[in-house]
């Protein structure tokens, strides 16, 4: 077991470095010059451009730039944004928790709604509830989050005025307002999780329900609720946990669209503007953080899967 873990960890570390290197190189091959973005539409005579490039260290050899950036990053110093001169680490520290919070809220909401819904649907198989739950599942899986988000903004923000349509409020200054702003984006992200979790729970509960030990418990005289909670859910949750683990990883991708639509000040908006403005250090830093997070999540999932099913551990 230990060699497996060590091997996976080493692979993860190597992978992260490879990812960051690739991004670093590709960024410099991309057309578009950050100095020109900084100058905007105005006069950009060659001497001005050259002076600014020098000030940013862009005229140093690639290897030097890479080494200097990497050594800084390993120490936690991500350098400064080309465009604003602000230290990137500060911005990352401010924004990363917001994206994490949105991800966490979506997962929590998704599971809190999906699992009970799935169990209920399995229990009342064939009923109206089951049918409705199935409908929710279909909507959640087939409608992309940018569609769901747009409709949510229109319906709940503009028409019904139940929640603020956009934006973000700091928790410390206004806890209630913060939560209200969190609802729509988290719900949008959560819908697909609800759909998948619900279906998984439903099928695994159904499978468990038909097994002998459940009938034995019933025969012993336990009520349905007790049987459900004690035996079924415990056994059904294993595949569900796996799926949740997988969903957490892919949420990092979907969150880009949701943050865009709701103007949530997280990492993806930072990444998008960094890419559009060719602000290399910003893009490198965000990709590093996201890649590390993603690799860690995958690692956790693999390790968990390896722990559950020893047959899998071929890798």
């Amino acid at each position: 077991m230990d060699t497996y873990v060590i091997r996976r960890l080493a692979a993860a570390a190597g992978l992260t470095v490879a990812v960051v290197t690739v991004v670093f190189l590709l960024l410099r091959l991309v057309p578009g010059d950050v100095v020109l973005v900084m100058l905007g539409e105005n006069e950009a005579p060659p001497d001005k451009v050259a002076a600014m490039r020098h000030a940013l260290g862009l005229d140093r050899p690639l290897v030097v730039q890479y080494a200097s950036w990497l050594s800084g990053a390993l120490r936690g110093d991500f350098g400064r944004s080309f465009l604003s001169g602000r230290p990137i680490g500060t911005d990352l520290a401010a924004r990363a928790p917001r994206s994490l919070e949105l991800t966490g809220a979506a997962l929590l909401l998704g599971v809190a709604v999906g699992v009970p819904l799935g169990a209920l649907a399995a229990r009342r198989r064939g009923s109206v509830l089951d049918f409705l739950a199935g409908g929710v599942a279909i909507v959640g899986i087939t409608f992309p989050s940018f569609v769901v988000g747009s409709v949510a903004v229109l319906l709940f923000g503009l028409v019904l005025h139940w929640f603020p349509a956009t934006g973000y409020v700091d928790f410390r200054s206004d806890p209630l307002g913060h939560l209200r702003h969190l609802v729509l984006p988290a719900a949008t992200l959560a819908l697909e999780i609800v759909a998948i979790t619900m279906r998984m729970t439903r099928s695994s509960v159904l499978e468990t329900l038909s097994q002998d030990f459940v009938r034995t418990a019933w025969a012993k005289g336990l009520g349905t609720a007790a049987v459900l909670v004690r035996h079924i859910l415990r056994n059904s949750l294993i595949p569900v946990v796996t799926v949740i683990g997988l969903q957490a990883g892919t949420l990092l991708g979907r969150i880009v669209l949701v943050e865009y639509i709701f103007n949530w000040p997280g990492l993806s908006t930072m990444l998008l503007s960094g890419i559009y403005q060719r602000d290399y250090p910003v893009v490198q830093a965000v990709v590093l953080i996201v890649a590390v997070a993603f690799v860690c999540i995958n690692l956790l999932v693999d390790l968990t899967y390896g722990a559950i099913d020893p047959r899998i551990r071929l890798g």
Partner: protein, 289 residues
């Protein structure tokens, strides 16, 4: 009729319908999708059955041509992903050693990125257009096919009778063709159908962000994005392309699920299949966008 067969039938019909709409768009569309009429943001009428957009272009025609674009890119992507991924997986399983290591590490590299972010970055680096998009998205889904093929082939390759056959002088190619390929055909077909759905999801997400096939070409994702500016004046503009996207994704997903159920009995006896499924699922291409 079993419910699985029913699902395949219904989904198959929808997919067929979409394909026909896509192929027949030039003939079926009542208007040129690029033609701008003076009637901006018009409500549905006999002249424009689903109304017009902010340029006065016919929505129905744009939906049909959007189907063409989306399905074309989806098909090309999956062909690229399967066409490159599957052989890579098979080769890795057959030859092992260095080949295996290189391929698997490359796949890990691709999988290390959240897919949409990788797609955004790639489009920014490489530019956009139907073929480039197909290649980029194809590369995103390559790992799924590679791992699927790898796991399925591994199972076969490890069986003793293959060594025996080799000892008897059979070439590796012929062995692959006769034993490996039939084994992976079914899961491959299922995965193709599922991947088509995921690809449409990614492509519409990219279009939404303005990174897909550029205007004035009609793409569903961009139609959704543009409609958001007019949500109060003409909310229908948001509905049509959203339904189209959902229909396409839903149909391909249902087809894939149905095919998996239909083909499953034939595979169930192979317990090693479960291991393959386990490997292929972690981390798999689950829908996202």
């Amino acid at each position: 009729m079993r419910s699985a067969d029913l699902r395949v039938a219904v989904a198959g019909l929808v997919v067929l319908g979409l394909a026909l709409a896509a192929l027949g768009a030039p003939v079926l569309a009542p208007h040129d999708p690029l033609e701008m009429s003076p009637a901006l943001l018009a409500a549905p009428s006999p002249a424009h059955v689903l109304g017009t957009d902010s340029f006065g272009r016919d929505t129905l025609s744009r939906l049909l041509f959007g189907a063409r674009t989306s399905l074309l890119i989806a098909a090309l992507s999956v062909v690229a992903a399967a066409g490159i991924g599957a052989p890579l997986g098979i080769l890795s399983a057959t030859y092992r050693g260095a080949v295996d290591w290189v391929v698997m590490r490359a796949i890990d590299l691709i999988l290390a990125f959240p897919p949409l972010i990788l797609a955004i970055a790639a489009v920014t680096f490489l530019g956009t257009g139907p073929v480039k998009l197909a290649v980029i998205i194809g590369v995103l889904y390559l790992p799924t096919f590679a791992r699927l093929a790898y796991a399925s082939s591994l199972a076969v390759v490890q069986q003793d009778y293959l060594d025996a056959a080799r000892a008897l002088g059979g070439s590796t190619w012929r062995l692959m063709r006769r034993h490996v390929l039939p084994n992976i055909a079914s899961p491959l077909i299922v995965q193709c159908s599922l991947s088509l759905g995921f690809v449409i999801l990614v492509e519409s997400g990219l279009s939404f962000l303005g990174l897909g096939v550029p205007p004035p070409a009609a793409t569903w994702g961009r139609m959704v994005s543009e409609s958001r500016n007019y949500m109060q004046r003409m909310p229908l503009l948001l509905i049509w392309p959203s339904l189209a996207i959902a229909l396409a994704i839903g149909a391909f997903n249902m087809l894939g699920d149905g095919l998996r159920d239909v083909l499953d009995p034939r595979l169930q006896h192979n317990w090693r299949r479960r291991r393959a499924v386990g490997v292929a699922r972690s981390p798999a291409r689950i829908p996202q966008a």
